[in-house]
């Protein structure tokens, strides 16, 4: 039996060399790529996610682990069948027009990416039309909007309206977040969800996808 726990532990320790070495060894021993992914890497990310939530791990460590994970997935990709990796859902994420805050939004984007989603982080100060266009071009399943200012929260409402207007509202689930945003506000503007931090944003996205 292949030692998947070793991969999990190396991933938790953010040891890229070790993770890659173990994954390569697994492939040489003809361990199915899907098992290396699920039982080694994803198992590790699950532990990391839990530890992050309990504040037993610092965010930079979590992000580093996510980078190691993604390097390992690149190794596995050629051996994984279509549908086994990625394609869990496509996210377009950005900060609404008039708002330049991006630290939280970028963190959410990185966490979603490490959860295996295809993430298009289109930046800050994004007009409603631009979001609509990106949804269409990227065939997004999720639209994630960030706002940190009370003055730009109305722009979230306008963005939702623009998505409705463009006739693509049924195509995407919309989530909103940022320090001044609340669940009540999300409900009021007709968004599908709100999350207070990057960890819960990831859970929320997973729950919204079919």
């Amino acid at each position: 039996m292949f030692n998947f726990t070793a991969i999990t532990e190396a991933l938790i320790a953010c040891d890229q060399d070790k993770v890659l070495e173990l994954v390569e060894a697994g492939l040489r021993q003809a361990v199915p790529a899907k098992d290396l992914l699920d039982l080694g890497l994803i198992a590790g990310m699950d532990v990391i996610g839990e530890r992050m939530e309990k504040e037993e791990m610092f965010i930079p460590e979590v992000l580093m682990a996510a980078m190691v994970m993604s390097a390992a997935v690149d190794l596995l990709k050629p051996r994984l069948a279509e549908g086994e990796v990625g394609a869990k859902g496509k996210v377009v994420i950005g900060t609404v027009k008039g708002d330049l805050h991006d630290i939280g939004k970028n963190l959410v984007a990185m966490m979603l990416k490490s959860a295996g989603l295809e993430v298009h982080n289109i930046g800050v100060d994004i007009a409603p039309e631009r979001f609509v266009e990106e949804i269409k071009v990227k065939k997004a399943d999720i639209l994630a909007l960030s706002a940190l200012l009370t003055t730009t929260m109305p722009m979230m409402r306008e963005t939702v309206a623009a998505v409705v207007e463009a006739g693509v509202r049924n195509q995407v689930k919309i989530l909103v977040g940022g320090a001044p945003v609340t669940q009540a506000f999300a409900d009021e503007i007709g968004a599908d969800g709100y999350a207070a931090d990057a960890g819960s944003a990831t859970k929320l996205v997973k729950s919204l996808l079919p």
Partner: protein
């Protein structure tokens, strides 16, 4: 007890050699790495280029040669005086003189009556101005919260109006855009009785977050900054990276990056209008490594804010920075120790204009009425430390000791009466110093509840006419006032 403007500088986290090293590092950062910018700043970039900066337009990079920076920062005034309207609370920002006051743009407040954590309103802004006006150790009023109940395009004028109506202390705030700046200029000119009078004794000033750390110019704020500088309205050049996310995790590197950002901002301003008053606005912060949120209460914030004053002092520019940004959600012990540490360290560091020092909670997101009362006490005690211990014949009081003699007491001695108002810090009443019995009789209230009572008492007093009726009318004729 008047404790404003005392000399700090007793706490010096950086040695002379450290200061020199960080200053050189910052000049190196500007020369090698430089700043980036976005569209809308072509004129600013052009101005810098004509004077000797190197601009790479394809990479949107501005690199500042060392001599070019040094030539321009020299033009910034060493002393900036921010005036009050009463004349009682003028702030002479120079050398190591220390003033502390409010700060913010908070969006939530703990309601004074219900205790509910709710969105801030224009009325809160006015009431907080009135409260702070009566708290002696809060030396200026920087707009502490956002009027979330009025239309956004009415913010700028209404915020300054509410502040100036509530207090005669110096008022500072940001503005949303250049148009807002001009409206505020008109508003303040009406209050001053003419533009010249305002420029001569500016009782308002502007904050602009011109830099998005690391090393990026914010187009909108840079343009506002330059416009204010052109009109010689004092500007605080705010830049506030969080060590660990928008600046390196190490304190030395964070200081070097901030110093570089400030040198660039000051250069732009002094090139725009040489000699115009401004404040070095580096605010070192910390990222919460568990969430990447803003960690206001970190003890390192106190250390770095003291250090950044040393950097500003090194180039001879008065500084604006922060203390007392707790991460606690309510006015509790955590709030008190975090605030006490950072406020004392910044005061002892000699920081000139310390905002956020009163009222703030919840990592910069919220404020509470009672917290202003508590922070007034913390600031007062911190400034008392700056007063130091006088050792001269009058204070040594050898004759007094001899005349009272062994076994006597000093309670009724004239010397005690002479010095009891200066040697003894008697707070605003929020610190309970009575017997347990008395305390129990009065309901056994904690500091928070006592703070609330003091706040209520101040707010129930008659309103003071900080705006004349004529000025108020003229303002209302010109602008839509929501208060």
């Amino acid at each position: 007890m008047d404790l404003k403007g005392l000399a700090g500088g007793q706490y010096k986290p950086l040695s002379e050699k450290d200061i020199q090293t960080i200053h050189e590092a910052a000049l190196g950062i500007l020369e090698k790495t430089g700043f980036t910018y976005e569209s809308g700043l072509e004129a600013t970039a052009g101005m810098l280029e004509a004077a000797g900066a190197r601009i790479d337009r394809t990479a949107a990079r501005i690199r500042f040669p060392r001599k070019f920076v040094l030539d321009h920062i020299r033009k910034a005034p060493r002393t900036v005086v921010l005036y009050s309207r009463t004349g009682r609370d003028d702030l002479d920002l120079t050398e190591n003189r220390v003033y502390l006051g409010t700060g913010g743009a908070a969006i939530r407040v703990i309601d004074l009556e219900t205790g509910e954590y709710r969105p801030t309103t224009l009325k809160d802004l006015y009431l907080l101005a009135r409260l702070v006006d009566k708290l002696d150790h809060i030396h200026f009023f920087l707009r502490p919260c956002i009027p979330t109940d009025i239309p956004e395009d009415a913010y700028d004028v209404n915020m300054f109006y509410a502040c100036m109506k509530g207090t005669g202390k110096h008022v500072m705030s940001g503005v949303n855009n250049i148009d807002g700046f001009h409206k505020v200029l008109d508003l303040a000119s009406i209050v001053a009785g003419g533009r010249e009078k305002l420029i001569e004794r500016p009782f308002i000033s502007i904050i602009t977050s011109f830099a998005i750390s690391p090393l990026k110019l914010c187009t909108a704020s840079t343009l506002i900054m330059q416009e204010a500088i052109r009109h010689r309205i004092p500007v605080a050049l705010s830049c506030a990276p969080m060590a660990g996310s928008t600046s390196p995790i190490t304190m030395a590197a964070t200081l070097a990056q901030i110093h570089a950002e400030q040198l660039a901002g000051i250069t732009i301003c002094q090139m725009t209008n040489p000699g115009a008053p401004l404040l070095y606005g580096g605010i070192p912060g910390r990222a919460n490594l568990n969430t990447m949120g803003y960690l206001g209460g970190a003890v390192e914030c106190g250390m770095m804010n003291a250090a950044i004053h040393q950097m500003a002092h090194h180039i001879g520019v008065p500084n604006y920075n922060s203390s007392a940004l707790t991460d606690s959600k309510i006015p509790d012990q955590q709030a008190a120790w975090e605030k006490g540490m950072t406020t004392l360290l910044t005061a002892m560091g000699g920081c000139n204009y310390v905002h956020h020092a009163a009222g703030m909670l919840d990592s910069m997101v919220g404020v509470a009425y009672e917290q202003y009362v508590i922070d007034d006490e913390i600031i007062g005690m911190s400034c008392k430390v700056l007063k130091g211990i006088d050792v001269d014949p009058e204070h040594l009081a050898l004759e007094v000791i001899d005349s009272v003699g062994p076994g006597g007491n000093f309670m009724t001695h004239a010397h005690t009466l002479r010095h009891m108002r200066t040697e003894y810090f008697n707070g605003n009443g929020v610190s309970d110093r009575r017997s347990r019995n008395k305390w129990e009789q009065d309901g056994g209230l904690d500091a928070r509840e006592r703070g609330r009572q003091i706040a209520r008492k101040i707010l129930s007093a008659p309103e003071l006419p900080f705006l004349s009726e004529a000025a108020d009318k003229a303002i209302r004729r010109k602008f839509t006032i929501h208060l």
